[in-house]
Amino acid sequence: MTNNMQYRPAEENKKLAANVAGRLYEHASAGDDIFSCHGQLKFFRQGKSVMPAGKTVQAAEDHVGIWKETSLHGKTSFIRDEKFADDFVYWARAHEIKPKANAFRVVLLGESAARGFLVDPFYNPSMALEKILGCAGLNAEVVDLARTNCSIGQLIALVKGCVRMEPDALVVFAGNNWTINGKNLITPLEIRHIINTIVGGNSEDVIRNVIEEKLSASMQELFRELAAVKERYAIPVVIVNPEFNCMDWKSNETDRLPSWTTNDIERWYALLSKATGSIQTGDFPAAEALCNEMIGMHPFNPAGYELLAKCRYIQGDKDGAAAYLRSAHDTSVYQAAHCPGVTSFIQNWIRREVRDQGFCLVDLPVVFHEHLEGDIAGRTLFLDYCHLTVEGINLAMYHAARALMSSMSVGEWSVDVRDTIQLGPDDISCAAAHFLAAIHNAHWGQGQDIVAYHCRRSLSYFDISNEMMQYVYMTTSSQCPWRLNRHFESLVSEGIFMQYLLLSQPEEGLDTFDLTLVDGILTALRDKQVDVGGEVNTMRVAQSGEDGEGVDLLQSCHWVDGSYNPLLRLKMGAYYKEFNRWSKFYLLYAGSAETRVELVHRVPYNSEVQETLELEINGTPFYSAPTGPGWSRIEFEVPSHLLRYGVNNLIIRWPLRNIKSKYHEPVEYADLELYYKYMFPLIGEIHSLTIKPANRK
């Protein structure tokens, strides 16, 4: 047997290791003396090591996106590479990008907005651009390299690679994905810096500073590459500055959670209620004062800005309203996770860089503002947070074409924007786009109003939407996973949704009745004299209602509505965690029996006073119970006269006055999980919530 001493740590170190381990267990953070022991405990194996198996390095140079460069008969074309088949759905449906011929070749780069997300593949910005350039007399072909979910890094690679396609011009429509939040790329060191700055009471806007500094570096690199292309190939570069759906995209419940501090949460919610009430009664000065106080207390929160915008808009000050709506959206930089959407910082940065680099600018905020004659861009131009309707696509590409032609000085621009109205896909595709928008809006936590709007628009284009909608509400009424559900299968068989197969489903593990979506569908169908509300309720109750065995309301289908919210996963686990002032559960009632509720709950802090939680059914308070830091079990009957057949809203209101988060001290190390714990103080916890017939134990 070999002398193993150089191949295993020293035997005598075992005692030291045990000693250090014990001390690390006893002390929260190790001191220098414990750290110094590492020198003795270090171990490096002597002898040879196996070299790690070499990994095949993907030769990136011969690909542009998913297309591989291929030479045939001296000509270069690009063929879609099957190795990236999983990625095809994010790109244009072009198997081959042919060698450049006589046409003026424009390469379009960008993200999902440039992809025409939700309208694509039936229509998209590249099609619009090509047609409009044609109307202007240019024999143009547009090579569509836009990619849904394109990151800024991927965009830089595309800029570098696309020159191999011999473009005569570049159009870049991007900026919505230039976000760094939560799970994207904040390092542990940066997280620690943010946490310690905030808990230390430093007034520095540290989150914004960290994120904007990181973003600036990436954006500078992108524009350097674009400038290099412009200079080297002497081709015009048109930058389309994105716009956000300010008017019709609202913050959701998670966005509006007071974050980072538990101070005065109760007061902040009281201000929110009062401000909302003041707006309803028309007392705008009072409302604005309350909103400003809210913003002062929680500057990371969009709610105050949104209410200020409402005040301004009702009073006819649309520019003022728009400014507040932008401020509301700009708080997305503070959110742990947010939908894509360009911020003011990025828009202003693009304007500055375009001016400095001599690119052509299509400033969509300006374009849309003028097109709407001063009104705020909303649902007529947007399908969701940043993706454009057909009208929006045509308008954006009209101006891109015009900017391009202007940069080439090819004569007077003669195309009228009104001529673009007839451009677009057929009615079925428009119907599908709006219905997909309804689904997407609902899954992102938008309200029933906008969901119903898109459902109505869908039905106005084509009545087959009726059938599509039926498939969806029948799918959501079942607890069977969407991907096995026969109604979803029928929907897929229609062929229209193939591109959005994954995106139209709830997230894995977050089964949902999709109540907002279905309510939107039902509202739109009622306008067409089709009333299936009763049928939907019956299906839901039959599938998931209380059937004598007891129903676990902590199953996600009983509390998830908009499921595209990564923070929902923070709520789930062995027990339910609440960060909001209330918890809402959907109780399905078959109408036949008295109902008992069993609830095991606690609050995650010690309070000096007895705390109470309040329960409501369908807006009516009916029960209150003491709560505290240990698990308490309560059982009570729900008055049947407060229940209705089908879906009932059971709300648990948590005490807010004396909340204390245990995450308020500086840290030595922090990861994303800890970041969320600091950011979202826990308000309440539920270990079980079960509904049973009253006669069952």
Partner: protein
């Protein structure tokens, strides 16, 4: 009294519930999360156990955790892991288990910690039905111990000797597993299955990797291993020794690889038999209890029983770390002063979630799949399924409560006719999509087992191999060395599966059915009816028998469903490095 047992944060996290000493529920977290060998704190398995036991978080008297995190940290520090690295320390922090139990499970009561190998030992002994036994636990590593030897009588377990890290038979086996291009903590079973194809040409060299010592001791020659720092399993010196290029994953398996596997198995068996003999001499007990990941090497188990004077052996069906949850819970129960007699022998492994016909029907009716309803006549269900087997069909069998442990035992199983000459290749290629050499195991009527296999006792958990002596030709379950890893089935433990075997026997004269786990390669065994349907649709299974319902693939047009499923990523990888054993 309600006691929860937990194993977690290493690999194969699991949770179990003992109620007044009775095992009421047990499940592995991977089955809920779809992450194979998921090591996360088992939040889903925990919720399941509470629901199955009809209790709430407040009703738990004790929570038992399966290892001592301070001792484990000591071993990790001894290996040189840099505890000053904040990111690393989050993983190895000895307070992490308690912190996660409190924060993630929400448990507020007393937490009891038991040593890893003691938990293994308890998982076997306390559920064996023996009043006394010798105990042998063998795995990769717990805190320090890699092998322990003990004796138990009545309530007391006494572990009187142990082998310490880095000397480890489990890590020896894992190193060769890695060398042969399989994933550690996952591919060891494949190496065991590969061994009969090989010749013991490398035993001399393998013996240089490990040498027996006095009493229960043995030592690895660490010159050949490189796993202490956790970056890789074997060193260049091993390559020089074996003179065979390490096999890259997913490449062809050569004869030399098979020979190495065989040689490893020979050496492992030699050592284990040697140590088991010493254990017998030391304890004098006629009974042997085994646990730990190496105890899943059923070939070695069979050798131990045959080659020693132990009369009876009990191997915990969940011999891997998942089973430690049972052991820890049993230890906590014993510590309350309860009598051992209140801990029952584990006669079966069906402790996971089950689904009623109503629940299954709800899912089926929501799909477009045509299915036949046999709720009116279970007899018809059995007859039809047995007939389908005789026709050469591959059946997905989803019945009752899910098994606890790595084996499928007639609750979540894929079944087929073992007499069919092409069945093994068909299932490997079309259904499991795995390596062609992998053998399948048989389930057999307990009272007829001895007519077809060289075995004289019940073997309900597929944890020992024996020779096939049947006059019936059984190519699909007979391994190349004429062995089989059998499950004996009696009416008490699984009446429905028993009935199926009986009917198959009636039709064919063969009381044996091929039984493999209901999953496809790389994915955990199915848990829910939806899981079963998805696996059925994505594999070459011909019929799915779920509760009292039968779904025939030939009666259904499933192209659209296949398309939807092909475009949906529903199985996720746990964050476990599969090239090297997880020490953190």
């Amino acid at each position: 009294m309600n006691i929860i047992g937990i194993s977690a944060l290493y690999h194969d996290a699991a949770c179990c519930l003992l109620q007044d000493g009775q095992l009421v529920a047990a499940a592995q977290e991977e089955r809920f999360t779809k992450k194979k060998a998921d090591p996360s704190m088992p939040v889903h398995a925990f919720r399941y156990c509470l629901a199955e036991g009809g209790i709430s978080i407040r009703d738990i008297n004790f929570l038992a955790y399966y290892e001592d995190p301070v001792k484990k940290l000591a071993r990790q520090l001894w290996c040189g892991h840099d505890y000053r690295d904040k990111e690393l320390f989050l993983k190895i922090d000895p307070k992490r288990p308690e912190r996660e139990i409190r924060e993630l499970l929400g448990y507020e009561g007393p937490i009891l910690m038991y040593d890893h190998h003691l938990s293994h030992a308890a998982s076997s002994y306390y559920f064996s039905g023996f009043n006394d036994a010798a105990i042998l636990t063998v795995d990769g590593v717990g805190e320090w111990a890699t092998t322990t030897y003990g004796s138990a009588a009545g309530q007391q377990i006494d572990l009187f000797e142990q082998v310490e890290f880095p000397d480890s038979l489990g890590l020896l086996y894992a190193a060769i597993t890695s060398y042969l291009g399989f994933k550690v903590n996952d591919g060891e079973y494949k190496v065991m299955g590969l061994a009969p194809y090989g010749r013991p040409l490398y035993t001399g060299k393998i013996r240089r990797l490990v040498q027996s010592g006095a009493n229960g001791q043995y030592h690895l020659d660490m010159k050949y291993f490189d796993f202490i720092n956790g970056n890789r399993m074997y060193a260049w010196e091993m390559v020089e020794l074996l003179e065979v290029e390490p096999r890259r994953a997913e490449t062809g398996i050569l004869q030399c690889h098979k020979d190495i596997a065989r040689s490893l198995q020979v050496v492992l068996e030699e050592l284990l038999v040697d140590k088991a003999k010493w254990l017998y001499e030391t304890t004098g007990s006629a009974h042997l209890c085994m646990a730990g990941g190496v105890a899943l090497n059923c070939v070695a188990n069979g050798r131990i029983l045959n080659a020693t004077r132990f009369e009876k052996m009990y191997v915990q069906p969940a011999s891997n770390d998942a089973g430690c949850a049972l052991g820890a819970a049993a230890l906590a129960y014993m510590d309350t002063g309860s009598p051992k007699s209140s801990l029952s022998k584990m006669e079966h492994a069906y402790y996971g979630p089950g689904y009623t016909n109503c629940e299954i029907r709800n899912v089926l009716e929501a799909t477009s799949l045509a299915f036949d309803d046999h709720t009116a006549s279970r007899k018809d269900l059995i007859t039809r399924t047995a007939l389908a087997l005789t026709e050469g069909k591959v059946i997905g069998w989803f019945q009752g409560r899910m098994e606890f442990g790595p084996r499928s035992l007639g609750a979540r199983s894929i079944l087929a006719d073992p007499r069919h000459p092409d069945m093994r290749d068909k299932i490997n290629a079309m259904v499991k999509k795995r390596e062609a050499f992998r053998p399948f195991a048989p389930s057999v009527l307990e009272h007829k087992a001895c007519e077809h296999f060289d075995i004289d006792h019940a073997s309900p958990f597929m944890l020992e191999t024996c020779q096939v002596i049947s006059e019936i030709d059984l190519p699909s379950i007979t391994h190349v060395d004429n062995s089989a890893r059998i499950q004996t089935v009696n009416r008490t433990s699984n009446p429905l599966f028993f009935d199926l075997l009986t009917e198959f026997d009636r039709l064919t004269g063969c009381p044996i059915i091929l039984n493999t786990s209901f999953n496809v390669r790389g994915q955990p065994i199915v848990n829910t009816p939806a899981d079963a349907i998805i696996c059925f649709l994505k594999s070459g299974i011909d019929s799915l028998v779920m509760g009292d319902f039968i779904i025939e693939k030939e009666n259904n047009s499933i192209e659209t469903l296949e398309f939807i499923l092909a475009n949906y990523m529903d199985f996720r990888q746990a964050d476990i490095a599969r090239d090297v054993y997880t020490f953190l």
